[in-house]
Symmetry: C2
Subunit: 329 residues, 2 copies
DNA sequence: TTCCAAAGTGTAAGCGGTTTCATTATATGT
DNA sequence: ACATATAATGAAACCGCTTACACTTTGGAA
């Protein structure tokens, strides 16, 4: 069995209270005593037991990253990327990071209570019930890649509209006037932002968008390819297409190739997300880069602030995007 | 504050022992009593506190998935995919899943002890010290995508050699005799398996492999493209190239396109991993599919068996691969 | 009805830390 | 050297649950 604080107390000849202080509040114990304690601990291979500590302190330092999404969760590069940055930040702290999906909000909420989770980063389109349940349990909640009306919680999102603007103005700079969009049916928040931003930016620049220049598709390559074919296989086709994400953009590239179009001469394509596939496609895909690392770090900062009950934790953080220009445009 | 077992005990008029049993061993308490307990619990919004339970039971049900890798960890599609399947399995159990990277083995080991982790799934090339330290702390350890000589622990790997054989024999079926390989410098275990398997299978079929038909590269597209260009930009070039993974294969496709080769007529390409990019490339990439889901599930099964101290837990599980034929070959 | 085994329930002692409060040692000023 | 303020330490209660053990019911069998 592992050594306990009593073993260390006995071997070092001080009380358990002092041992405890030596580990948790070293400045409260005299240098010499502290050394005795640490020596004994070393000998006994003692490490404080986090469970017992959580029990006594009435706090667990446990936080969770919950991805609210049906199919791919951590497999989704975007959420994985945020996860990676949260993880790295957690690694330098005393928190413990649980990761899970949240299909069933009620189960998730009771699990959170059972497992004594103190803070949650909710990714994707979380159900309102989940948030209110968690908040009523005094769990700190931060939303990422989503915004929820009627709730008082910090949200971290990327600047979707700014990103769309960057993409489109880049195409306009290149001389394109007839720009179309292929839009995937993914998370309601994202779809809304990117779609509306497209219309907005086009209007801002005095360009009209015909209904036939916007195609909806399922969020997979085949469906995107099909949609792009419909868009492009006609005489008055656009000279540039904006894909609502990289997978869709990949579909557009495929369609273009099937129609024997040269890129970027005959058609410019821009994607969104700047995922790893961009560099592997031919031509390499221009895409709007989302700063996932900043998003993850911000989430952790906000969560910590919330858990520490700091006042004035910002309610909305918008992380700027950056256009990554490659050879497809 | 959350309700405790005492509150439930008081409200339902039974002892805390009975309340405890009603939740943990319902069959031990009479139907009527149980109902009283659950009703009281319902009223009080009581959920058992996992921390206190862990304390009393002397077990935490905490397990961890540690990815031993420098750069991309959970961002690596392979590890993410395994993670996803572990996660889904854990979700249907009472375990808590911690996820982390393991850069520094000593810190990782002491963290595991502090946080009272009872089982660890180690992905990637874990350091031997980490494994022995964990084992000496009585932590159950399962290795995935790696094998370690001199240790007594379950390993779960995909059938790398079988996969290479599938890929090469597929190419041979298509009539290819001059097959080359571009090999990335990634994890020592993988690189060894795939590289040696290549030589082995070629020899089995009486095909000679010239040193110039094997190119090493860094594990990124650019480097792979460069390597492939060297391989292909010569008169006696191979008619088929096997990429040690999909990223490398993508580089080969790029190189082929730059050389204006038609695929699969002038050159057949096969990758390994069957990652999501395969379907987005043009032509779509034939690749060896790794059954990550099975790997993750097997890990969990083995870990559970180990933690339950079952006898005869298998030491090596090899998960078969499956060739996914697409238009690049 | 009586007796006894089996089933159900209660009492209380932990699990390994933290922390309050009381006590003792040390430092400071005169 | 003494009084006093302050720092360091210790004793013991407590965090919320489990479980060994003792005790009480229950339900048959005799």
């Amino acid at each position: 069995m592992n050594a306990t604080i009593y073993d260390v107390s006995r071997l070092s000849g001080v009380s358990t209270a002092t041992v405890s202080r030596a580990f948790s509040n070293p400045e409260q114990v005299r240098e010499a005593t502290r050394r005795k304690v640490f020596e004994a601990a070393e000998v006994l291979h003692y490490y404080p037991n986090a469970i017992a500590r959580a029990m006594a302190r009435q706090r667990t330092d446990k936080i969770a990253y919950l991805i609210c999404k049906k199919d791919a969760t951590i497999l989704d590069e975007f959420y994985a990327s945020i996860c990676e940055s949260i993880m790295r930040k957690v690694n330098r702290s005393d928190y413990q990071l649980l990761i899970s999906t949240a299909d069933d909000w009620h189960q998730t909420a009771s699990t959170a209570q059972t497992k004594q989770i103190e803070g949650v980063i909710l990714g994707g389109n979380a159900q309102a019930e989940l948030v209110s349940e968690l908040q009523s349990q005094n769990v700190a909640v931060v939303l990422v890649n989503n915004r929820m009306a009627g709730f008082d919680l910090p949200c971290v999102v990327s600047d979707e509209r700014g990103g769309v603007r960057q993409a489109l103005e880049h195409l306009m700079d290149r001389g394109h006037r007839h720009i179309a969009m292929v839009c995937g049916r993914f998370s309601p928040y994202i779809i809304g932002e990117r779609y509306h931003a497209f219309l907005e930016v086009m209007e801002d620049h005095g360009l009209t968008v015909d209904a036939s220049d916007i195609k909806m598709c399922d969020p997979d390559v085949e469906s995107a390819t099909q949609a792009a074919l419909e868009l492009l296989d006609r005489p008055d086709r656009p000279t540039a297409v904006f894909g609502a994400n990289d997978v869709i953009a990949a579909g557009i590239l495929k369609a273009a190739r099937r129609l024997r179009m040269r890129l970027p001469e005959d058609l410019a394509v821009v994607g969104f997300d700047d995922s790893t596939i961009c560099g592997m496609l031919e031509p390499e895909l221009t895409s709007v880069h989302i700063n996932c690392q900043a998003m993850g770090e911000t989430c952790m900062d906000l969560l910590k602030a919330l858990m520490d009950r700091e006042p004035d934790v910002p309610r909305l953080t918008v992380i700027p995007t950056e256009l990554q220009v490659r050879s497809s445009s």
